[in-house]
């Protein structure tokens, strides 16, 4: 089971790597922000899988903090971009 969980975590890390291509490529700021959203979701998924595979419950709390921060980061992005534009 552990090998499977680790393989799953690795696969999610690969999706993050693929998302980096979208960050480089853009073309718009919104595209880059979208890739950042992918890092958030995949990152949470990776942490949850590792928490189970390594029996490290604290990693689940890290995932929880990630989820809370994701909300803040996105709101900040949109606020800043809007104010910067006006």
């Amino acid at each position: 089971m552990n090998t499977l969980l680790l393989a799953a975590a690795l696969l999610l890390l690969l999706t993050i790597l693929a998302g980096l291509w979208r960050v480089v490529r853009g073309p718009t700021a919104a595209d880059r922000m979208l890739a950042a959203q992918l890092f958030g979701t995949s990152g949470v998924g990776t942490l949850l899988l590792l928490a189970e595979a390594w029996q490290q419950p604290a990693l689940r709390d890290v995932a929880l903090i990630f989820a809370l921060l994701a909300v803040l980061a996105l709101v900040a992005f949109v606020r800043l971009r809007h104010e910067g534009a006006e």
């Binding site: 799953a8 998302g19 979208r22 718009t28 700021a29 959203q37 979701t41 996105l74």
Partner: protein
């Protein structure tokens, strides 16, 4: 045994959705379509992975924590989708 099998199936299915979301992010032609792909596919992906892990976690508290994390990511994801979409549309109209 059955739990482990069910968990494997759920996590495997979740991974397929994660791959689909990333593929959509890379392949879809414009930013609004990419938002659809990432928001919907990753939401289901994380939900299935969390459900699978909840079966393995061995306690109700862990299962609820996973549910809480999924709900937070879902709320952030769908709000973000709307904010990023509205933002990119506003930028287009200028």
């Amino acid at each position: 045994m059955i739990l482990a099998l069910l968990a494997t199936v759920l996590i495997g299915a979740g991974l397929i959705f994660f791959i689909a979301g990333t593929l959509g992010l890379l392949r879809f032609p414009d930013v609004l379509c990419r938002i659809h792909a990432l928001t919907k596919a990753d939401n289901i992906g994380l939900g299935l992975v969390a459900a699978g892990l909840a079966l393995l976690g061995g306690s109700w508290a862990v299962a609820f924590k996973l549910l809480l994390i999924w709900l937070l990511v879902m709320a952030a994801g769908t709000t973000a989708a709307q904010l990023v979409a509205g933002h990119s549309q506003a930028e287009d109209e200028r």
